[in-house]
Symmetry: C2
Subunit: 245 residues, 2 copies
DNA sequence: CGTTTGATTGACACGAGTCAACACCAGTGG
DNA sequence: CCACTGGTGTTGACTCGTGTCAATCAAACG
């Protein structure tokens, strides 16, 4: 029984028992984080790597006028600072959107593992490629899709990413974030986000109540939103491409 | 006298003569590309690396409805596919916006250089970090800035990036792209882009004629656009932080 | 010269933002 | 046990930024 960080990486490479064991041992220092806390701030040069094990976090930048743009969601199993292994300062922030469990992984351990096990290095490499690919898809989302498709697309992405780590049960997943957060991720206002969500419900595409999001029909919301899961590069080898059913 | 690809990387690390020489030799196979041609397409697994030596190219994705979102400009000195050294397929396209000179660099040469010279590996690593940072800033741009600041911000970014490779003379630089391209990069319509550009001219922030962009006052347009060059990580060591004057 | 590509205008429609009020719920403390 | 609170979701009315459509203009070009 390994943790979710290991399970996520295991999607990207066929680890040996020793590799699995090494990753699990490196990520066993887990700490609790409250809602809305800062995990990493601009300018930080973290001395350990941070992996979210439970709850939702996000990358974000704040603007002088107080608005915030969320750049990516950091989901269970994701690293907050995969690239920071080598001397570099954060140019954005990481904050928790819900209560979180965060694993603190010593850089030395991670470097030792990547040095010794090419498969681990490759899995980390791959996951950073995926992260960049997600950023590019978000650019398309913000630049060229209207509000409804924008939010729909985001919800599809979360469905696939959460399914990859076993966090989708049947048709639903936990979405422990506020409408403000969806607004800040999609570049919309809260009010409009609220109306668009209602519209998506009225269309029978989703249900959203008490932090649980239900996907009524994945194909429907995918085609409505122009979502194509290819950019998530889920199959770094084998693996299913559809999260539901 | 080394080429612009080498000069750009030299901003990021203090190369020895041998390293400079190696990079220059690896990037000497330069080919001509016409306007609007595709350099790399989705799904490609390039067998060589591509560096733009002259002219403007861009990363982009096309949507089913025919619209296009530009994800990044590939300027002289930039690699099109820095990450593709290791087995991976392109998930977006690279196209030329103007006539270009593109260097074809054998993967083997580049790998040999990075293996032998840590400084080269670090410079390439750093430039890929910067590229990611640019993508994040673009997310802020598309998500949270109104049209005027959005375009202004883009023009500031181009000014700094071009200045870093010596392509800004005095107050001006060559901008060999169409308004359509600016529109596709900023998520606006061409018509509105045109009106916003006129507004920026009327405000005395820029002049734009015949492919030459003149920055009337860098501090003015920076503060107007909310631009802060920090995200470009220009100083991977030493180096000025302001491009003009 | 026609043709073409890109820049520019005007009129109009509509998506999305803003402001302000209200509803709902969980927690808290008197 | 109940008023009070703060956070979040929901509404309505109104404004405004941006998109769309269509026409015109200017420069480049064979």
């Amino acid at each position: 029984m390994t943790n979710i960080f290991v399970r996520k990486l295991a999607n990207l490479a066929a680890f040996s028992p020793e590799e699995t064991e090494g990753l699990a041992r490196a990520s066993c220092d887990v700490r609790q984080i409250g809602v809305g806390e800062r995990i990493l701030g601009e300018g930080d040069m973290p001395r350990v790597a941070h992996a979210v094990m439970e709850g939702f976090a996000c990358r974000f930048k704040s603007l002088p006028d107080g608005t915030r743009q969320i750049l990516d969601f950091v989901l269970p199993g994701d690293l907050c600072d995969g690239h920071m292994l080598f001397m570099a300062a954060m140019d954005h922030n990481i904050g928790s959107l819900s209560a979180c469990h965060v694993a603190y992984i010593a850089h030395a351990d991670l470097l030792a593992l990547t040095g010794r096990h090419a498969r681990i290095a490759r899995a980390l490499w791959w996951s950073s490629l995926v992260q960049e690919s997600i950023a590019r898809e978000w650019l398309v989302n913000l630049g060229r899709r209207p509000a409804g498709q924008r939010i729909g697309h985001l919800l599809c992405e979360l469905c696939f990413r959460l399914a990859a780590v076993g966090l989708v049960q049947g048709q639903e997943y936990q979405l422990p974030i506020r409408q403000t957060d969806i607004a800040d991720a999609t570049g919309l206002s809260v009010v409009h986000t609220n109306r668009v969500l209602q519209d998506l419900r009225r269309r029978g595409l989703i249900a959203l109540q008490g932090g649980t999001l239900t996907v009524e029909s994945l194909p429907n919301i995918e085609s409505f939103s122009g979502f194509d899961s290819g950019y998530l590069h889920a199959t770094a080898g084998r693996g299913a491409t559809t999260p539901l059913g």
